[in-house]
């Protein structure tokens, strides 16, 4: 019998592996697994870490989540917000990436950089600038469009205004991702389609789009995860208002945890949101047929 050879060659390599793996395990335990465990246990308690309150409530927090009309409304808002922003993010991202990919466009790196710039700008700064632009008296948007709309205080336009800002801020990410996807397409498939006489539309719909499916799935999944967590733009631009018309699920969690210091209820909300996010992600895989 041959002695099975260890894939690592030397003791120092094995030591390095052990150190790295241990560090990773400790990191995830300390900053992810243990906090999640604490939050899960806390979700069954009345919990205010600042005043030291920690009292077992059983399922009370969860009952409150499912009977809260505000949570229901915020979930509908979150759904509308996520679906609209993701559709535009994917649509604009793919469209612009395909335009950049076109052989007729010069300065491709310049355009990629331009579209990516909002992504690297902090959301806080962008939200403040857009809030100013939406100002009904002195804002640029009303001035340019010749309108007189109180964008952020009108229940019909407030969420729309936040969505427009978010689309502007985030679609560049999809542009860059789709550019990467387009440049890695197998050239033989494209050439074969051309040889077979496929026109541009047919190539796009039947060759490029299916080949970009993994990238689309990636963009959609990461978008779902990020938009279900969206709250910074709400905090800065509307504070959930007018009334509760722009409350998103994550904004309630922020409000309960860091304004009311009601950590127990906020933890319960977080776990419900976690499950909903997982379900949406699973559905996305199912729809795309990429469960594996």
């Amino acid at each position: 019998m041959f002695k099975k050879k260890h894939p690592l060659q030397s003791k120092s390599e094995i030591l390095l592996r052990n150190i790295v793996v241990t560090a990773m395990i400790v990191f995830f335990l300390v900053f992810l697994i243990i906090p999640i465990g604490i939050a899960f246990v806390g979700s069954f308690h009345e919990w205010n870490p600042l005043s030291g309150t920690y009292r077992f409530l059983g399922m009370e927090n969860y009952k409150e989540v499912f009977t809260s009309s505000l949570f229901g409304r915020s979930m509908i808002n979150t759904l509308i917000f996520s679906v609209v922003v993701i559709i535009f993010r994917v649509g604009l991202g793919l469209g612009i990436a395909y335009a950049i990919y076109s052989p007729f466009i010069k300065y491709k790196s310049f355009f990629r950089a331009i579209y990516y710039m909002p992504i690297v700008t902090p959301m806080v700064a962008v939200a403040f600038v857009w809030k100013f632009m939406y100002n009904p008296q002195i804002g640029t948007i009303n001035h340019l469009l010749g309108l007189n709309i109180n964008w952020l205080m009108n229940p019909k336009t407030a969420l729309l205004a936040v969505m427009i800002m978010t689309i502007w801020k985030d679609f560049g990410y999809a542009v860059v991702m789709y550019c990467a996807g387009l440049y890695s397409l197998p050239s033989d498939a494209l050439e074969a389609a051309k040889v077979d006489g496929a026109n541009g539309r047919q190539v796009f719909l039947h060759i490029i789009l299916p080949l970009l499916k993994p990238m689309t799935l990636f963009v959609v999944i990461t978008s779902i995860i990020s938009y279900v967590q969206a709250y910074v733009q709400i905090l800065i631009m509307t504070e959930g208002g007018p009334g509760t018309s722009t409350y998103l699920a994550s904004y309630i969690i922020y409000d309960e945890a860091f304004v009311k210091y009601n950590f127990g209820y906020a933890s319960a909300l977080s776990f419900v949101l976690f499950v909903i996010t997982a379900v949406f992600t699973w559905c996305s895989f199912r729809v795309s047929g990429s469960e594996e």
Binding site: E46, N48, P49, L50, S51, G52, T53, N135, P136, Q137, I138, N148, N150, L152, M153, N154, P155, G240, G241, P242, G243, T244, S245, F258, V259, K260, Y261, N262
Partner: protein, 453 residues
């Protein structure tokens, strides 16, 4: 000697509002001029600068605050000039971070010995506070509102100043509308008429609002005018909110009528009333004391005047709500030597009239120290001068949980922007506040009001 110290304190205080651009070097130069008092000073609470702290041995403590560095630096400079063995490290955390970091720091072993308090965070801080080492009778003798701070026979902090709302008006717009000092309104009916005269429209479009309360109707109207009509924010048990009341709805209806019937402003004209006033678009706003300094620093070109808040009939149960600006908290978990310094520092702070004047001027609060009610420097500030006559006719409900303000803000927005009727909006506000306060230890101190029914 006393006058000289007063002068130095005034210069330091003024630097907060008018010399904000001064370099830290110039401040250091100011500090080196401080004369060390040698005689006992104070009213009932006395401070003896000849008594050593920590037996004269070196000791360092931290003082945490969220702004106004120069004010605290001048206070520290005055104290450490008397006690050179004490080093006080000033730590500034922005307001947003302060209330998360502070309780966590106090829960550990290295929390600051001294820290600034805002009473809206009372419930999160009270478990970390050491009681003041000053007899309650002495505190009561020198300061108003002490009774509201007594917890089981102990006082952990008190108010050094009282902040409330007054009406700020643009003098240029006032004059342009043909109004004089004699037109200053005493009642809400008069206020309505004056606001109409100050409103300018171009067709249906408002060009200049007579009165603007956008963004702050909950703080400056709903939670204050109820007292004018003889009703408290909390019911007799001190814990049940009383916001879903006919009185509160009457006030809300008055605000709606101001905009929708009288047309003296609009929910869509100016995102925030205060900003709109500062930008020269609105003629009148009701704002709390801090707005005086904001106007002087941020919108210094606005020529403004101040008058007391109008009443419904000229004979109110109380004029308005006030909130106290709190004295320092002392960390009960700090080492004993640091706590002793912190206690001594607070006594110095309370006994020192110059410091009290400087703090009240910097924050535009009416002094809680009784001996300063007629102080010349205080009464030079118009936002404080208009309060002087009726200062005992203002009520503090206690450190209300934030949900009270937030829920009424939401209720007002539902009415103004979302078309919800007043009854439904206030029903929801009442339910939300009751739910959020279910486990709160808050008990209103409205019953301690001097003229309580």
């Amino acid at each position: 000697m006393k006058k000289k110290i007063m002068l130095i304190a005034m210069v330091s205080a003024l630097s907060i509002t008018s010399l904000a651009g001064c370099s830290s070097e110039s401040n250091k130069k100011e500090q080196t001029k401080i004369d060390v008092p040698t005689e006992v000073f104070g009213d009932t609470i006395k401070y003896d600068p000849n008594v050593e702290v920590n037996n004269g041995e070196k000791v360092t403590i931290e003082l945490w605050e969220w702004g106004s560095d120069e004010l605290f630096e001048s206070l520290i400079a005055g104290y450490t000039a008397i006690h050179p063995n004490v080093t006080i490290k000033l730590v500034n955390n922005p307001w947003e971070d302060y209330w998360t970091k502070l309780p966590l720091a106090l829960d550990g072993e290295n929390g600051p010995a001294l820290f600034n308090i805002h009473n809206s965070y009372h419930e999160n801080l009270i478990n970390y506070l050491a009681p003041l080492d000053i007899p309650i009778e002495d505190l009561q003798a020198d300061f108003t509102g002490v009774d509201a701070h007594i917890i089981d026979g102990k006082v952990y902090y008190i108010d050094y100043g009282m902040m409330t709302g007054t009406v700020y008006y643009n003098k240029d717009m006032w004059e342009a509308a043909g109004l004089t000092e004699a037109d200053i309104p005493k009642t809400w009916d008069e206020m309505r008429e004056v606001a109409k005269k100050l409103t300018i429209k171009n067709g249906d479009q408002i060009v200049q609002a007579g009165l603007n309360f956008n963004g702050d109707f909950h703080q400056n109207y709903l939670l204050g005018l109820n007292y004018q009509l003889g009703e408290n924010i909390f019911k007799e048990d001190g814990t049940t909110p009383n916001v879903n009341s006919d009185t509160m709805k009457q006030i809300m209806q008055m605000l709606v009528d101001f905009y929708e019937v009288d047309g003296v402003g609009s929910k869509d004209f100016g995102e925030k009333g205060a900003d709109s006033f500062g930008q020269g678009q609105s003629a009148m706003v009701i704002q709390w004391g801090h707005f005086y300094n904001t106007l002087n620093t941020t919108w210094s070109d606005i020529n403004f005047g101040v008058f007391e808040i109008p009443t419904f009939d000229g004979n109110p149960y109380a004029y308005n709500r006030y909130n106290g600006e709190s004295t320092f908290g002392i960390n009960k978990n700090a080492p004993k030597d640091q706590q002793a310094v912190a206690q001594d520092f607070v006594k110095y702070y309370l006994a020192n009239d110059n410091v009290q004047v400087a703090f009240n001027l910097a924050m535009s609060t009416f002094p809680a120290k009784k001996s300063l009610a007629n102080n010349e420097e205080i009464l030079k500030n118009p936002s404080l001068r208009v309060l002087a006559e009726h200062i005992d006719r203002y009520i503090w409900p206690g450190p209300m949980p934030e949900t009270v303000e937030n829920s009424l803000k939401r209720a007002g927005e539902e009415v103004f922007y979302n078309g919800v009727d007043i009854d439904t909006a206030f029903d929801e506000a009442q339910a939300t506040i009751e739910k959020d306060m279910k486990n709160s230890s808050f008990v209103s101190v409205e019953n301690l009001y001097k003229y309580a029914k």
